[in-house]
């Protein structure tokens, strides 16, 4: 997928990921957007304040990558992460910067093409959403 023409800024995406789900999302960066990766020992370490602080640090979108349901090494980390992200999406809406900027995805371990697709989808979404208005 190519970068939509209408993008007038270089989107910054912060990716929180369980290092079991994916080793390094910055591998799929293509120069038109910036991917910052935050590795976690388990997706259960997805803390609400870290997601918001990523936006405070200038992220236009925040992506959380976790293992598929049933495949968390620590049993429920991915389920807990999904609950917290759902709650934070609402708060990001209340903040007024659009909850669509925050998303969580289940990724099969090591599936680089799935991660590349997620990043491209995020870049496309940001073409509509525009830059983070609170950055």
């Amino acid at each position: 997928m190519s970068i939509p023409e209408q993008i007038k800024f270089k989107p910054k995406i912060t990716v929180f990921h369980c290092f079991n789900a994916f080793s390094d999302p910055s591998l799929v960066s293509n120069g038109n957007f910036e991917v910052k990766s935050v590795k976690m020992a388990c997706s259960s370490l997805t803390r609400e304040v870290f997601l918001l602080r990523a936006f405070e640090s200038g992220a236009d979108a925040v992506v959380v990558l976790v293992c598929p349901v049933g495949q968390c090494d620590y049993l429920q980390g991915n389920i807990r992460a999904a609950r917290r992200v759902a709650r934070m999406k609402k708060l990001v809406d209340e903040i007024g910067i659009d909850g669509k900027r925050l998303n969580i995805y289940n990724v099969t371990r090591g599936d680089k093409s799935a991660v590349a697709e997620i990043i491209q989808k995020t870049v496309s979404d940001l073409a509509v959403l525009g830059p983070n208005p609170a950055a």
Binding site: V49, L52, F55, E56, L91, E94, I95, G96, I97, A134
Partner: protein, 222 residues
């Protein structure tokens, strides 16, 4: 524990609107346990407020601190310099904590960030239920350890009423009938004879109906 819930962000924004430098003061006991006002909630709210204000083109300076218990001088004292350095304190404690801040720091506005909801228990992870209204004259011994004052929607001491159906309360079918639970527990304890006992009307002056309450422990007053 005291159970509370953080106010919606829009309401908190209105409450802090007149100030540009505030302290968000958490409480590390009851409200921390119910995810309304511990360290994590202080940090998340501070971040959310900063983002929201920035989006509106406003700057706000937010100091963050959580003390063990806002309702005790011993702990609240630790916040003194943070409080004096702020235009206002947004307290994430229960209403008692907020009022303690207001009383001890008379020159600084104390603002509530939490709706204090009830005295209750952690039923299971993520679920808190109300158990006590603090009536000042506990009768749990007579009702098999289940409080009719709190758990019966009609506060009946001589229940059940005629409206209970399938173990649910007629006021709201999501609520268990307290009297069904009392009877089940009487049975389990072999105390069914208690059901025929008559309990006269209570003296509610020990509850909040008698005005502001105070407890003095002479042995601790110096």
């Amino acid at each position: 524990m005291i159970v509370g819930e953080q106010k919606p962000l829009a309401e908190i924004k209105n409450i802090v609107a007149p100030y540009s430098k505030i302290l968000i003061l958490g409480c590390g006991t009851c409200v921390k346990t119910c995810f309304a006002g511990g360290e994590d909630e202080v940090a998340t709210l501070a971040s959310a407020l900063r983002l929201s204000m920035k989006k509106d083109g406003r700057e706000i300076k937010i100091d963050e601190l959580t003390v063990e218990r806002q309702c005790e001088d011993e702990f609240l004292r630790q916040a003194a310099s943070n409080i004096s350095g702020s235009e206002a304190v947004l307290s994430l404690a229960c209403g008692a904590g907020v009022q303690m801040v207001a009383d001890r720091f008379k020159k600084t506005p104390a603002l509530p960030g939490v709706n204090t909801t009830f005295i209750g228990i952690l039923e299971k992870q993520g679920l808190f239920t109300e158990k006590c209204l603090g009536c000042g004259d506990c009768v749990l011994d007579r009702f098999a350890g289940i409080c009719p004052v709190t758990c019966c929607s009609k506060k009946l001491l001589n229940g059940p009423c005629g409206g209970s159906q399938n173990g649910k309360c007629e006021v709201n079918s999501d609520i268990e009938c307290a009297w069904q639970n009392i009877i089940d527990r009487y049975k389990a304890l072999g105390q069914m004879d208690r059901l025929t006992a008559y309990y006269p009307a209570r003296d509610w002056r020990n509850s909040s109906a008698g005005g502001l309450r105070k407890l003095v422990r002479e042995d601790h007053v110096i």
